[in-house]
Symmetry: C2
Subunit: 352 residues, 2 copies
């Protein structure tokens, strides 16, 4: 059992190498072992490219594969997607035993890959390092279990809980370390959501500094169509995709940059937004404000995670307050990290 | 020089043993060395008891003391206080050399102890581990250099910067670790200051759990005399001293418990309070709220240090906001510490 955990740890380490490049696919790592020797490792490098099992298997000869054990972090797939099914490849390779950390929550896969392996006489062990591996694809898992995206709210406040020095003022509240962390963690999400005020006042580009071919889609909630008066915003003119949710038909029908997609909504309900994003298979969103939008998310309990960056300065009475929900909220898990003289408080509810 | 620092480090370690028991006196440690061997150590144990130098010297014979080196964290005194002057004792002991970390800022001492030693042919080295030793008696140093107490504001807030769940509601915002830390750090101050609202709503005892014969004096600022309607408060009936600053003559003349002292003030200016506390030789105060009182301190720039405890929960819109000063404030030094799932942010201005 300790051996299994050791090799699965290697597979987990492999999986992480694909970070930010597998897009809608999960991170997966694989290790092939015979006589306690690692013969090959592999991982899912990139969306559309071979799965981890295939990556590892392709490095070995039939003789090497014969009677070997495959460690893989996620249940092998059993269906034709961008790649032929891994379960059949494993069977054909005459691998003797497969050790799996996590059952794939994706409805097309769950349990079926394991069934195929067992039907073909392969010994299957599941659940090894399950808790650690589950964290690897938290958003993917959540999305396929709950049919809705993982929602993280992010805010950056002063000690006296101000998010800007005054109305309509773009203010850098937190320090350079926070700036860098935010620009990097954006890549962990498939979309970034902001309100129209934040778009107009801050004119952010909402890009990520992480190396990824799949930067998050920028989503602006603009019920009234205020963006029509601000068509010069960076978000509406650069080369990255932006989605606008609006009730304003003029905006929805306006001839915008080809990277921009407008969604004409009927009401102002966040549940409509979430439903639409679920349909579009957006597995995770990072809500970057402002405070009014975040309050709506909190008040509707559409929250999985809250990230607050705090600087130790006071902004004073003219500042605009951070988000204050209508009622109290407690989160199950809290992680605190110091970034220079700023603090990051990351809190989340236990996954359903 | 490295030897000097080594022995001074020992003296610093000795000094800390007197923590919370030397009251208005500084913490001081001493080490006596001959031929690189430590012959004796000593420290100031308790207010009114022998100074560190005397404590160490008393452990040795005249032969041992002859030609030895004394390491002492603070300049030896030269005047009769509760104890006869240490400078003369050192001369009489035929100590050859004295190494001092810090010159005593107390006007009755500063430079005079060293002068006496030098006049008597003793070799004197100063400034060894000066920065480390200065931190030992930060409040004492500040008081004697600036003729006013060191002022620390303390607050405990939720993530959304609330200090209570609603008006007139006593609320435990932060966790047990914070509770214990606050109860202990109170002993680092000579007085605790609160407003009358905090006294009435929270009915706190403001005691310390630290072992000390000199718990801080509780000070209530009660301009209007609201305490007259609340004479059953714990603060006004237990065995510890409480001072009340009021403009209400009935309260000032009221026949209160013998531990209570009333100060009749002419106006509502914090500078009057500070002047009175300076006169009473209160070296340091810990202001525990409420937010309105802390705002006054911040707006008048009467601040040396700000301690904010933050819990990760949201209280919501009915909560009472933490202190928001009129204008912005930046502090020079910031220290961040995690206490369970709470955070302590300690920030201070560079000492004058």
């Amino acid at each position: 059992m300790e051996k299994d955990e050791h090799f699965m740890q290697l597979a987990l380490h492999e999986a992480q190498k694909g970070r930010h490049q597998t897009w809608k696919n999960p991170l997966v790592g694989a290790v092939i072992v015979k006589n306690d020797q690692v013969l090959a490792t592999g991982y899912h490098h990139h969306y559309g490219k071979p799965h981890a099992e295939r990556d590892a298997i392709s490095k070995l000869t039939p003789e090497q594969l014969f009677n070997s054990t495959l460690y893989v972090t996620l249940e092998p797939c059993n269906h034709f997607g961008k790649q032929p099914p891994c379960s059949q490849l494993i069977v054909d390779s005459h691998i003797k035993r497969v050790v799996i950390a996590e059952i794939d929550p994706h409805k097309l896969v769950t349990g079926k890959g394991i069934a195929t392996l067992k039907e073909n006489g392969i010994e299957v062990t599941t659940g090894v390092l399950n808790a650690e591996v589950k964290k690897l694809n938290e958003h993917y898992n959540y999305f396929y279990k709950n049919d809705r995206p993982w929602i993280t709210l992010k805010q950056a406040t002063s000690l006296d809980y101000k998010v800007s020095a005054g109305l309509n003022q773009r203010t850098a509240i937190t320090n350079q370390e926070v700036y860098e962390q935010v620009h990097c963690e954006r890549a962990d999400y498939q979309a970034i959501v902001i309100g129209s005020s934040t778009a107009i006042i801050d004119n952010p580009s909402l890009l990520t500094t992480a190396s990824t071919d799949y930067p998050p889609i920028r989503i602006v909630l603009d019920r009234r169509g205020r963006l029509l008066e601000h068509l010069d915003l960076t978000l509406l003119n650069d080369d990255n995709p932006t989605w606008i949710f609006t009730q304003n038909k003029s905006l929805a029908n306006h001839n915008l940059n080809q990277n921009i997609q407008c969604f004409l909504t009927k009401n102002n309900d966040l549940s409509d937004l979430i439903a639409e994003l679920s349909k579009k298979e957006i597995q995770s969103i990072y809500v970057e404000g402002g405070p009014t939008l975040e309050k709506s998310f909190l008040d509707n309990f559409f929250i999985n995670e809250m990230i607050t960056y705090i600087s130790p300065d006071f902004i004073g009475a003219n500042g605009v307050s951070g988000t204050v929900p209508t009622s109290s909220h407690h989160f199950d898990e809290v992680n605190i990290k110091q970034l220079g003289n700023n603090v990051r408080i990351d809190e989340r509810n236990k996954n359903v």
